[in-house]
Protein backbone atom coordinates (compact mmCIF):
# COMPACT_ATOMS: atom_id res chain seq x y z
CA UNK A 1 0.00 0.00 0.00
CA UNK A 2 2.78 2.34 1.03
CA UNK A 3 4.56 1.60 -2.24
CA UNK A 4 1.44 2.24 -4.26
CA UNK A 5 0.99 5.63 -2.64
CA UNK A 6 4.63 6.43 -3.32
CA UNK A 7 4.28 5.33 -6.92
CA UNK A 8 1.65 7.98 -7.49
CA UNK A 9 2.75 10.62 -4.97
CA UNK A 10 6.48 10.92 -5.54
CA UNK A 11 6.28 12.38 -9.05
CA UNK A 12 3.74 14.91 -7.83
CA UNK A 13 6.37 16.54 -5.65
CA UNK A 14 8.03 17.92 -8.78
CA UNK A 15 6.28 20.92 -10.31
CA UNK A 16 7.48 20.00 -13.82
CA UNK A 17 5.90 16.58 -13.38
CA UNK A 18 2.59 18.07 -12.33
CA UNK A 19 2.63 20.35 -15.39
CA UNK A 20 3.57 17.40 -17.58
CA UNK A 21 0.71 15.31 -16.20
CA UNK A 22 -1.83 18.06 -16.74
CA UNK A 23 -0.54 18.77 -20.26
CA UNK A 24 -0.49 15.08 -21.21
CA UNK A 25 -4.03 14.55 -19.94
CA UNK A 26 -5.31 17.61 -21.83
CA UNK A 27 -3.55 16.62 -25.03
CA UNK A 28 -4.71 13.01 -24.73
CA UNK A 29 -8.31 14.01 -24.17
CA UNK A 30 -8.41 16.64 -26.88
CA UNK A 31 -6.62 14.40 -29.38
CA UNK A 32 -9.28 11.73 -28.97
CA UNK A 33 -12.17 14.16 -29.39
CA UNK A 34 -10.82 15.34 -32.74
CA UNK A 35 -9.52 11.83 -33.36
CA UNK A 36 -13.13 10.63 -33.40
CA UNK A 37 -13.57 12.59 -36.63
CA UNK A 38 -10.17 11.56 -37.94
CA UNK A 39 -10.91 7.86 -37.42
CA UNK A 40 -14.47 7.92 -38.76
CA UNK A 41 -13.67 10.11 -41.75
CA UNK A 42 -10.55 8.14 -42.65
CA UNK A 43 -8.23 11.10 -42.22
CA UNK A 44 -5.36 9.40 -40.40
CA UNK A 45 -2.94 10.08 -43.22
CA UNK A 46 -4.02 13.70 -43.37
CA UNK A 47 -3.37 14.11 -39.62
CA UNK A 48 0.07 12.58 -39.86
CA UNK A 49 1.00 14.62 -42.90
CA UNK A 50 -0.23 17.78 -41.24
CA UNK A 51 1.95 17.18 -38.19
CA UNK A 52 5.01 16.74 -40.40
CA UNK A 53 4.15 19.76 -42.53
CA UNK A 54 4.30 22.02 -39.51
CA UNK A 55 8.04 21.50 -39.17
CA UNK A 56 9.21 24.17 -41.65
CA UNK A 57 7.03 26.74 -39.89
CA UNK A 58 8.49 25.77 -36.56
CA UNK A 59 11.96 25.87 -38.11
CA UNK A 60 11.49 29.38 -39.43
CA UNK A 61 10.36 30.50 -36.01
CA UNK A 62 13.32 28.73 -34.46
CA UNK A 63 15.76 30.49 -36.79
CA UNK A 64 14.04 33.86 -36.54
CA UNK A 65 14.26 33.89 -32.77
CA UNK A 66 17.81 32.53 -32.71
CA UNK A 67 16.95 29.17 -31.24
CA UNK A 68 14.32 30.45 -28.85
CA UNK A 69 11.22 28.42 -28.09
CA UNK A 70 8.74 30.94 -26.77
CA UNK A 71 7.07 31.89 -30.02
CA UNK A 72 7.24 28.46 -31.63
CA UNK A 73 3.64 27.67 -30.72
CA UNK A 74 2.41 30.57 -32.85
CA UNK A 75 4.65 29.65 -35.77
CA UNK A 76 3.36 26.10 -35.58
CA UNK A 77 -0.23 27.26 -35.37
CA UNK A 78 0.07 29.55 -38.38
CA UNK A 79 1.71 26.85 -40.48
CA UNK A 80 -0.80 24.22 -39.45
CA UNK A 81 -3.83 26.33 -40.32
CA UNK A 82 -2.36 27.27 -43.70
CA UNK A 83 -1.34 23.70 -44.44
CA UNK A 84 -4.71 22.26 -43.48
CA UNK A 85 -6.55 24.70 -45.74
CA UNK A 86 -3.99 24.31 -48.51
CA UNK A 87 -4.54 20.60 -48.57
CA UNK A 88 -8.16 21.04 -49.61
CA UNK A 89 -7.03 22.90 -52.70
CA UNK A 90 -4.22 20.46 -53.53
CA UNK A 91 -6.39 17.42 -53.03
CA UNK A 92 -9.36 18.53 -55.05
CA UNK A 93 -7.80 20.09 -58.09
CA UNK A 94 -4.85 17.89 -58.93
CA UNK A 95 -4.70 14.99 -61.33
CA UNK A 96 -3.19 12.73 -58.71
CA UNK A 97 -5.06 10.77 -56.13
CA UNK A 98 -5.60 12.73 -52.95
CA UNK A 99 -3.27 10.63 -50.77
CA UNK A 100 -0.47 10.84 -53.33
CA UNK A 101 -0.78 14.63 -53.49
CA UNK A 102 -0.75 14.90 -49.69
CA UNK A 103 2.28 12.61 -49.52
CA UNK A 104 4.30 14.68 -51.98
CA UNK A 105 3.51 18.06 -50.45
CA UNK A 106 4.00 17.08 -46.86
CA UNK A 107 7.10 14.94 -47.24
CA UNK A 108 8.61 17.91 -49.08
CA UNK A 109 7.66 20.30 -46.32
CA UNK A 110 9.02 17.97 -43.67
CA UNK A 111 12.36 17.79 -45.51
CA UNK A 112 12.40 21.57 -45.80
CA UNK A 113 11.88 21.84 -42.06
CA UNK A 114 14.76 19.50 -41.29
CA UNK A 115 16.96 21.33 -43.80
CA UNK A 116 16.22 24.69 -42.16
CA UNK A 117 16.84 23.44 -38.66
CA UNK A 118 20.05 21.72 -39.69
CA UNK A 119 21.58 25.08 -40.61
CA UNK A 120 21.87 25.82 -36.90
CA UNK A 121 24.93 24.51 -35.17
CA UNK A 122 24.18 21.83 -32.60
CA UNK A 123 20.65 21.44 -33.84
CA UNK A 124 20.24 17.76 -32.97
CA UNK A 125 18.82 18.28 -29.48
CA UNK A 126 16.25 20.80 -30.63
CA UNK A 127 15.33 18.72 -33.65
CA UNK A 128 14.72 15.75 -31.38
CA UNK A 129 12.57 17.99 -29.22
CA UNK A 130 10.39 18.91 -32.22
CA UNK A 131 10.23 15.38 -33.53
CA UNK A 132 9.48 13.54 -30.34
CA UNK A 133 8.19 16.23 -27.99
CA UNK A 134 9.12 16.77 -24.39
CA UNK A 135 6.07 17.10 -22.25
CA UNK A 136 8.16 17.35 -19.10
CA UNK A 137 9.60 20.63 -20.38
CA UNK A 138 6.16 22.29 -20.59
CA UNK A 139 6.30 25.75 -19.04
CA UNK A 140 3.39 27.35 -17.17
CA UNK A 141 3.00 29.59 -20.22
CA UNK A 142 2.78 26.55 -22.54
CA UNK A 143 0.19 25.03 -20.27
CA UNK A 144 -1.98 28.12 -20.53
CA UNK A 145 -1.77 27.98 -24.32
CA UNK A 146 -2.62 24.27 -24.40
CA UNK A 147 -5.61 24.80 -22.12
CA UNK A 148 -6.84 27.89 -23.98
CA UNK A 149 -6.62 26.41 -27.47
CA UNK A 150 -7.81 23.01 -26.36
CA UNK A 151 -10.80 24.67 -24.72
CA UNK A 152 -11.53 26.68 -27.85
CA UNK A 153 -11.49 23.54 -30.01
CA UNK A 154 -13.85 21.77 -27.63
CA UNK A 155 -16.20 24.74 -27.59
CA UNK A 156 -16.45 24.74 -31.39
CA UNK A 157 -17.05 20.98 -31.38
CA UNK A 158 -19.91 21.44 -28.90
CA UNK A 159 -21.42 24.26 -30.97
CA UNK A 160 -21.26 22.37 -34.28
CA UNK A 161 -21.72 18.89 -32.90
CA UNK A 162 -24.77 17.89 -34.96
CA UNK A 163 -23.47 19.48 -38.16
CA UNK A 164 -20.08 17.74 -37.86
CA UNK A 165 -21.90 14.47 -37.22
CA UNK A 166 -24.00 14.82 -40.37
CA UNK A 167 -21.13 15.79 -42.69
CA UNK A 168 -19.07 12.90 -41.34
CA UNK A 169 -21.80 10.28 -41.67
CA UNK A 170 -23.53 11.31 -44.90
CA UNK A 171 -22.20 14.33 -46.83
CA UNK A 172 -25.08 14.12 -49.30
CA UNK A 173 -27.57 14.48 -46.46
CA UNK A 174 -25.65 17.53 -45.27
CA UNK A 175 -25.98 18.98 -48.76
CA UNK A 176 -29.72 18.32 -49.03
CA UNK A 177 -30.25 19.78 -45.56
CA UNK A 178 -28.52 22.85 -47.01
CA UNK A 179 -25.84 22.92 -44.35
CA UNK A 180 -22.78 25.01 -45.25
CA UNK A 181 -20.80 21.86 -46.04
CA UNK A 182 -17.70 23.50 -47.42
CA UNK A 183 -17.39 25.83 -44.43
CA UNK A 184 -17.92 22.96 -42.00
CA UNK A 185 -15.35 20.76 -43.72
CA UNK A 186 -12.72 23.49 -43.58
CA UNK A 187 -13.58 24.32 -40.00
CA UNK A 188 -13.03 20.69 -39.10
CA UNK A 189 -9.65 20.74 -40.82
CA UNK A 190 -8.63 23.84 -38.88
CA UNK A 191 -9.71 22.25 -35.60
CA UNK A 192 -7.62 19.18 -36.38
CA UNK A 193 -4.70 21.48 -37.21
CA UNK A 194 -5.00 23.27 -33.85
CA UNK A 195 -5.17 19.91 -32.08
CA UNK A 196 -2.01 18.76 -33.83
CA UNK A 197 -0.18 21.92 -32.74
CA UNK A 198 -1.33 21.51 -29.16
CA UNK A 199 -0.13 17.90 -29.22
CA UNK A 200 3.31 18.74 -30.60
CA UNK A 201 4.79 19.76 -27.28
CA UNK A 202 3.74 16.47 -25.71
CA UNK A 203 4.50 13.86 -28.32
CA UNK A 204 6.24 15.71 -31.14
CA UNK A 205 5.75 15.65 -34.89
CA UNK A 206 6.47 11.96 -35.30
CA UNK A 207 3.97 10.63 -32.78
CA UNK A 208 1.13 13.18 -32.94
CA UNK A 209 -0.78 10.78 -35.16
CA UNK A 210 -1.06 8.35 -32.26
CA UNK A 211 -2.86 10.89 -30.10
CA UNK A 212 -5.37 11.49 -32.89
CA UNK A 213 -5.96 7.91 -33.85
CA UNK A 214 -5.21 5.39 -31.12
CA UNK A 215 -7.50 6.35 -28.20
CA UNK A 216 -10.37 7.18 -30.57
CA UNK A 217 -9.93 3.86 -32.36
CA UNK A 218 -9.87 2.05 -29.02
CA UNK A 219 -13.17 3.67 -28.06
CA UNK A 220 -14.57 2.83 -31.52
CA UNK A 221 -14.05 -0.85 -30.76
CA UNK A 222 -16.03 -0.69 -27.56
CA UNK A 223 -19.09 1.53 -28.06
CA UNK A 224 -21.73 2.07 -30.70
CA UNK A 225 -22.68 5.71 -30.41
CA UNK A 226 -20.78 8.72 -31.61
CA UNK A 227 -20.93 10.71 -28.37
CA UNK A 228 -19.89 7.66 -26.36
CA UNK A 229 -16.93 7.16 -28.65
CA UNK A 230 -15.89 10.75 -28.06
CA UNK A 231 -16.20 10.57 -24.27
CA UNK A 232 -14.60 7.17 -23.88
CA UNK A 233 -11.86 8.14 -26.32
CA UNK A 234 -11.14 11.32 -24.37
CA UNK A 235 -10.97 9.37 -21.12
CA UNK A 236 -8.64 6.79 -22.67
CA UNK A 237 -6.48 9.52 -24.20
CA UNK A 238 -6.16 11.32 -20.89
CA UNK A 239 -5.41 8.01 -19.17
CA UNK A 240 -2.71 7.25 -21.74
CA UNK A 241 -1.23 10.72 -21.15
CA UNK A 242 -1.10 10.34 -17.38
CA UNK A 243 -0.05 6.68 -17.53
CA UNK A 244 2.68 7.51 -19.99
CA UNK A 245 4.12 10.22 -17.77
CA UNK A 246 4.27 7.83 -14.81
CA UNK A 247 5.83 5.16 -17.01
CA UNK A 248 8.37 7.67 -18.21
CA UNK A 249 9.14 8.83 -14.66
CA UNK A 250 9.73 5.37 -13.22
CA UNK A 251 11.48 3.76 -16.16
CA UNK A 252 13.34 6.72 -17.62
CA UNK A 253 12.06 6.23 -21.17
CA UNK A 254 11.16 9.23 -23.35
CA UNK A 255 7.84 10.76 -22.29
CA UNK A 256 6.27 11.04 -25.76
CA UNK A 257 7.08 7.43 -26.57
CA UNK A 258 5.77 6.29 -23.19
CA UNK A 259 2.43 8.04 -23.74
CA UNK A 260 2.01 6.45 -27.15
CA UNK A 261 3.01 3.03 -25.84
CA UNK A 262 0.38 3.22 -23.09
CA UNK A 263 -2.24 4.26 -25.66
CA UNK A 264 -1.22 1.34 -27.86
CA UNK A 265 -1.39 -1.02 -24.88
CA UNK A 266 -4.93 0.15 -24.15
CA UNK A 267 -5.85 -0.49 -27.76
CA UNK A 268 -4.48 -4.02 -27.65
CA UNK A 269 -6.32 -4.66 -24.38
CA UNK A 270 -9.56 -3.52 -26.01
CA UNK A 271 -9.36 -6.12 -28.79
CA UNK A 272 -10.29 -9.16 -26.65
CA UNK A 273 -12.74 -7.00 -24.72
CA UNK A 274 -14.53 -6.25 -27.99
CA UNK A 275 -14.83 -9.95 -28.75
CA UNK A 276 -16.37 -10.38 -25.30
CA UNK A 277 -18.87 -7.55 -25.87
CA UNK A 278 -19.79 -8.99 -29.25
CA UNK A 279 -20.57 -12.43 -27.90
CA UNK A 280 -22.87 -10.91 -25.30
CA UNK A 281 -24.73 -8.57 -27.63
CA UNK A 282 -28.27 -9.52 -28.75
CA UNK A 283 -27.06 -10.42 -32.25
Amino acid sequence: MQRLVEFFAVPLSFPFMVRGLVAAALVGGLGAVMGTYVVLRGMAFFGDALAHAILPGVAVGYLATGGGRKSLFWWALGTAVLASLGIGAVARRGRLREDTAIGIVFAGMFALGIALISTVRGYAVDLAHFLFGNVLAVSPHDLVLIAAFGGAVLLVVVLFYKEFLVISFDPDLAATLRLPTSFLRHLLLVLIAVTVVVSLQAVGVALTLAMLVTPAATAYLLVKRFSHMMFLGAALGALAGVGGIYLSFWTGIASGAAIVLVATGLFLAALPLRACLRSHSPN
Partner: protein, 258 residues
Amino acid sequence: MEVERLTVRYDGRPALEDVSFKLSGGERLAIVGPNGAGKSTLLRAIAGVLPPASGEVRIRGEDPCGHICIAYLPQRTEIDWRFPVTAFDVVLMGRVGRLGLLRRPGAHDRALAREALEAVGLSHLAGRQIGELSGGQQQRMFIARALAQEAELVLLDEPLAGLDAPSQEAILGLLDLLQKRGVTLLLSLHDLDVAAKHFPLVLLLNRRVAAFGPPQEAFTPGKLVQAFGGRLKALPEGRGVVVTDPCRTQEERDAEAG
Protein backbone atom coordinates in the same frame (compact mmCIF):
# COMPACT_ATOMS: atom_id res chain seq x y z
CA MET B 1 -40.95 19.78 -60.42
CA GLU B 2 -39.33 20.30 -63.75
CA VAL B 3 -36.03 19.22 -65.27
CA GLU B 4 -35.07 21.17 -68.34
CA ARG B 5 -32.25 20.29 -70.75
CA LEU B 6 -30.12 19.15 -67.85
CA THR B 7 -26.50 18.23 -68.56
CA VAL B 8 -24.17 17.11 -65.79
CA ARG B 9 -20.48 16.40 -66.20
CA TYR B 10 -18.32 14.09 -64.15
CA ASP B 11 -14.56 14.57 -64.53
CA GLY B 12 -15.17 16.44 -67.77
CA ARG B 13 -17.25 13.64 -69.32
CA PRO B 14 -20.98 14.10 -69.67
CA ALA B 15 -22.83 11.79 -67.29
CA LEU B 16 -26.19 13.17 -68.33
CA GLU B 17 -27.07 14.97 -71.52
CA ASP B 18 -30.02 17.12 -72.33
CA VAL B 19 -32.44 15.49 -69.90
CA SER B 20 -35.90 17.06 -69.71
CA PHE B 21 -39.10 15.95 -68.01
CA LYS B 22 -41.85 17.24 -65.76
CA LEU B 23 -43.53 15.80 -62.72
CA SER B 24 -46.50 17.07 -60.72
CA GLY B 25 -46.73 17.02 -56.96
CA GLY B 26 -47.65 13.66 -55.43
CA GLU B 27 -46.67 11.62 -58.49
CA ARG B 28 -44.21 8.77 -58.49
CA LEU B 29 -41.62 8.04 -61.13
CA ALA B 30 -39.19 5.17 -61.62
CA ILE B 31 -35.94 5.90 -63.41
CA VAL B 32 -34.73 2.80 -65.22
CA GLY B 33 -31.56 2.23 -67.16
CA PRO B 34 -28.36 0.17 -67.29
CA ASN B 35 -25.43 0.66 -64.96
CA GLY B 36 -23.63 3.91 -65.68
CA ALA B 37 -26.72 5.41 -67.31
CA GLY B 38 -26.60 8.35 -64.92
CA LYS B 39 -29.50 7.38 -62.67
CA SER B 40 -27.69 8.34 -59.47
CA THR B 41 -26.32 11.45 -61.12
CA LEU B 42 -29.80 12.54 -62.13
CA LEU B 43 -31.15 12.03 -58.60
CA ARG B 44 -28.22 13.87 -57.06
CA ALA B 45 -28.61 16.77 -59.49
CA ILE B 46 -32.32 17.02 -58.66
CA ALA B 47 -31.43 16.96 -54.95
CA GLY B 48 -29.14 19.91 -55.55
CA VAL B 49 -26.07 17.95 -54.44
CA LEU B 50 -24.41 18.00 -57.87
CA PRO B 51 -24.28 21.24 -59.84
CA PRO B 52 -25.51 21.02 -63.45
CA ALA B 53 -23.12 21.94 -66.27
CA SER B 54 -26.08 23.38 -68.17
CA GLY B 55 -29.84 23.30 -68.05
CA GLU B 56 -31.73 23.49 -64.82
CA VAL B 57 -33.82 21.79 -62.23
CA ARG B 58 -36.78 23.69 -60.84
CA ILE B 59 -38.81 22.63 -57.90
CA ARG B 60 -41.94 24.71 -57.48
CA GLY B 61 -40.25 27.07 -59.89
CA GLU B 62 -37.10 27.44 -57.80
CA ASP B 63 -33.57 26.10 -57.69
CA PRO B 64 -33.37 22.90 -55.59
CA CYS B 65 -30.65 24.39 -53.38
CA GLY B 66 -33.22 26.69 -51.83
CA HIS B 67 -35.33 23.77 -50.59
CA ILE B 68 -34.88 21.81 -47.41
CA CYS B 69 -37.88 19.62 -48.18
CA ILE B 70 -35.97 17.33 -50.56
CA ALA B 71 -34.69 14.04 -49.17
CA TYR B 72 -32.04 12.05 -50.99
CA LEU B 73 -31.68 8.45 -49.85
CA PRO B 74 -28.29 7.11 -50.92
CA GLN B 75 -27.61 3.62 -52.16
CA ARG B 76 -26.85 1.42 -49.21
CA THR B 77 -23.37 0.76 -50.54
CA GLU B 78 -22.52 4.46 -50.18
CA ILE B 79 -22.83 4.40 -46.39
CA ASP B 80 -20.28 3.33 -43.79
CA TRP B 81 -22.42 0.91 -41.79
CA ARG B 82 -19.82 0.61 -39.04
CA PHE B 83 -20.31 4.28 -38.17
CA PRO B 84 -21.18 4.50 -34.45
CA VAL B 85 -24.76 5.76 -34.69
CA THR B 86 -28.07 4.09 -33.87
CA ALA B 87 -31.13 3.97 -36.11
CA PHE B 88 -32.68 6.69 -33.96
CA ASP B 89 -29.59 8.91 -34.33
CA VAL B 90 -29.79 8.62 -38.12
CA VAL B 91 -33.49 9.47 -38.22
CA LEU B 92 -32.91 12.43 -35.93
CA MET B 93 -30.30 13.71 -38.42
CA GLY B 94 -33.22 14.45 -40.73
CA ARG B 95 -34.18 17.24 -38.32
CA VAL B 96 -30.82 19.03 -38.45
CA GLY B 97 -31.73 21.19 -41.44
CA ARG B 98 -34.83 22.56 -39.68
CA LEU B 99 -32.98 23.36 -36.47
CA GLY B 100 -30.45 25.76 -37.84
CA LEU B 101 -26.97 26.27 -36.47
CA LEU B 102 -26.27 26.23 -32.75
CA ARG B 103 -29.58 24.62 -31.77
CA ARG B 104 -29.95 21.15 -30.36
CA PRO B 105 -32.79 18.77 -31.25
CA GLY B 106 -35.65 19.28 -28.80
CA ALA B 107 -38.56 17.19 -27.58
CA HIS B 108 -40.55 17.94 -30.75
CA ASP B 109 -37.73 16.68 -32.98
CA ARG B 110 -37.30 13.54 -30.91
CA ALA B 111 -41.04 12.88 -31.03
CA LEU B 112 -41.02 13.26 -34.83
CA ALA B 113 -38.08 10.88 -35.13
CA ARG B 114 -39.87 8.33 -32.95
CA GLU B 115 -43.06 8.67 -34.99
CA ALA B 116 -41.10 8.19 -38.18
CA LEU B 117 -39.49 5.01 -36.87
CA GLU B 118 -42.92 3.83 -35.77
CA ALA B 119 -44.33 4.48 -39.25
CA VAL B 120 -41.72 2.25 -40.88
CA GLY B 121 -42.07 -0.41 -38.18
CA LEU B 122 -38.62 -0.01 -36.63
CA SER B 123 -39.50 1.31 -33.17
CA HIS B 124 -38.17 -1.82 -31.51
CA LEU B 125 -34.78 -1.40 -33.23
CA ALA B 126 -34.31 2.33 -32.57
CA GLY B 127 -31.32 1.73 -30.30
CA ARG B 128 -29.50 -0.65 -32.63
CA GLN B 129 -26.22 0.35 -34.19
CA ILE B 130 -26.98 0.72 -37.91
CA GLY B 131 -24.68 -2.12 -38.98
CA GLU B 132 -26.78 -4.52 -36.88
CA LEU B 133 -29.85 -3.89 -39.06
CA SER B 134 -30.72 -6.02 -42.08
CA GLY B 135 -30.62 -4.46 -45.55
CA GLY B 136 -34.38 -3.95 -45.62
CA GLN B 137 -34.35 -2.40 -42.16
CA GLN B 138 -31.54 -0.05 -43.21
CA GLN B 139 -33.60 1.12 -46.16
CA ARG B 140 -36.66 1.59 -43.96
CA MET B 141 -34.54 3.61 -41.55
CA PHE B 142 -33.65 5.97 -44.41
CA ILE B 143 -37.31 6.32 -45.31
CA ALA B 144 -37.98 7.20 -41.67
CA ARG B 145 -35.28 9.84 -41.94
CA ALA B 146 -37.05 11.32 -44.97
CA LEU B 147 -40.28 11.36 -42.93
CA ALA B 148 -38.54 13.10 -40.03
CA GLN B 149 -37.15 15.59 -42.50
CA GLU B 150 -40.76 16.30 -43.54
CA ALA B 151 -39.65 15.96 -47.13
CA GLU B 152 -42.08 16.71 -49.92
CA LEU B 153 -39.86 15.26 -52.61
CA VAL B 154 -38.08 12.00 -51.83
CA LEU B 155 -35.34 10.68 -54.12
CA LEU B 156 -34.33 7.06 -53.59
CA ASP B 157 -31.25 5.61 -55.24
CA GLU B 158 -31.76 1.89 -55.91
CA PRO B 159 -33.83 1.33 -52.76
CA LEU B 160 -34.58 -2.28 -53.71
CA ALA B 161 -31.05 -3.34 -54.67
CA GLY B 162 -29.82 -6.36 -52.79
CA LEU B 163 -33.07 -6.93 -50.89
CA ASP B 164 -35.06 -10.17 -50.76
CA ALA B 165 -38.67 -10.25 -52.00
CA PRO B 166 -40.41 -9.66 -48.63
CA SER B 167 -38.14 -6.68 -47.88
CA GLN B 168 -38.83 -5.26 -51.33
CA GLU B 169 -42.56 -5.59 -50.69
CA ALA B 170 -42.16 -3.78 -47.37
CA ILE B 171 -40.31 -0.90 -49.04
CA LEU B 172 -42.91 -0.66 -51.82
CA GLY B 173 -45.61 -0.56 -49.13
CA LEU B 174 -43.85 2.34 -47.45
CA LEU B 175 -43.63 4.16 -50.77
CA ASP B 176 -47.43 3.91 -50.97
CA LEU B 177 -47.61 5.39 -47.49
CA LEU B 178 -45.34 8.29 -48.49
CA GLN B 179 -47.43 8.93 -51.56
CA LYS B 180 -50.61 9.00 -49.47
CA ARG B 181 -49.02 11.75 -47.45
CA GLY B 182 -48.63 13.75 -50.64
CA VAL B 183 -44.93 13.11 -51.12
CA THR B 184 -43.54 13.14 -54.67
CA LEU B 185 -41.33 10.10 -55.25
CA LEU B 186 -38.47 9.56 -57.67
CA LEU B 187 -36.46 6.40 -57.56
CA SER B 188 -33.93 4.57 -59.63
CA LEU B 189 -34.51 0.89 -60.31
CA HIS B 190 -32.80 -1.70 -62.41
CA ASP B 191 -35.76 -4.09 -62.41
CA LEU B 192 -38.09 -3.31 -65.31
CA ASP B 193 -40.68 -5.67 -63.91
CA VAL B 194 -41.05 -3.83 -60.63
CA ALA B 195 -41.07 -0.51 -62.43
CA ALA B 196 -43.85 -1.62 -64.78
CA LYS B 197 -45.91 -3.09 -61.97
CA HIS B 198 -45.68 -0.38 -59.35
CA PHE B 199 -45.13 2.86 -61.21
CA PRO B 200 -47.59 4.77 -63.38
CA LEU B 201 -44.68 6.74 -64.86
CA VAL B 202 -41.23 5.60 -65.91
CA LEU B 203 -38.19 7.33 -67.33
CA LEU B 204 -35.92 5.19 -69.46
CA LEU B 205 -32.44 6.63 -69.16
CA ASN B 206 -29.10 6.05 -70.78
CA ARG B 207 -27.36 9.39 -70.38
CA ARG B 208 -30.19 10.78 -72.46
CA VAL B 209 -33.87 10.19 -72.01
CA ALA B 210 -34.83 7.19 -74.13
CA ALA B 211 -38.48 7.33 -73.11
CA PHE B 212 -40.72 9.01 -70.57
CA GLY B 213 -44.32 8.04 -69.90
CA PRO B 214 -46.48 5.18 -68.65
CA PRO B 215 -44.62 1.85 -68.74
CA GLN B 216 -46.75 0.38 -71.51
CA GLU B 217 -45.74 3.27 -73.77
CA ALA B 218 -42.15 3.64 -72.60
CA PHE B 219 -41.17 -0.02 -72.46
CA THR B 220 -41.37 -0.77 -76.15
CA PRO B 221 -38.68 -3.04 -77.63
CA GLY B 222 -37.14 -0.22 -79.65
CA LYS B 223 -36.89 2.17 -76.74
CA LEU B 224 -35.61 -0.50 -74.39
CA VAL B 225 -32.86 -1.38 -76.79
CA GLN B 226 -32.03 2.27 -77.19
CA ALA B 227 -31.53 2.46 -73.42
CA PHE B 228 -29.96 -0.91 -72.76
CA GLY B 229 -28.22 -1.55 -76.07
CA GLY B 230 -27.17 -5.12 -76.87
CA ARG B 231 -26.99 -5.95 -73.19
CA LEU B 232 -30.73 -6.38 -72.93
CA LYS B 233 -31.67 -9.93 -72.05
CA ALA B 234 -35.06 -9.97 -70.38
CA LEU B 235 -38.14 -7.87 -70.70
CA PRO B 236 -41.11 -7.42 -68.40
CA GLU B 237 -43.21 -10.48 -67.90
CA GLY B 238 -46.09 -10.90 -70.30
CA ARG B 239 -44.48 -8.80 -72.95
CA GLY B 240 -42.74 -11.72 -74.51
CA VAL B 241 -39.98 -9.77 -76.16
CA VAL B 242 -36.43 -10.89 -75.70
CA VAL B 243 -33.70 -9.16 -77.64
CA THR B 244 -30.59 -11.22 -78.00
CA ASP B 245 -29.14 -10.13 -81.31
CA PRO B 246 -27.46 -6.71 -81.27
CA CYS B 247 -27.58 -6.53 -85.11
CA ARG B 248 -31.29 -6.77 -85.17
CA THR B 249 -31.58 -4.19 -82.48
CA GLN B 250 -29.68 -1.79 -84.68
CA GLU B 251 -32.25 -2.35 -87.41
CA GLU B 252 -34.99 -1.78 -84.94
CA ARG B 253 -33.35 1.39 -83.84
CA ASP B 254 -33.19 2.57 -87.44
CA ALA B 255 -36.84 1.61 -87.91
CA GLU B 256 -37.68 3.55 -84.78
CA ALA B 257 -35.82 6.60 -86.03
CA GLY B 258 -37.32 6.35 -89.54
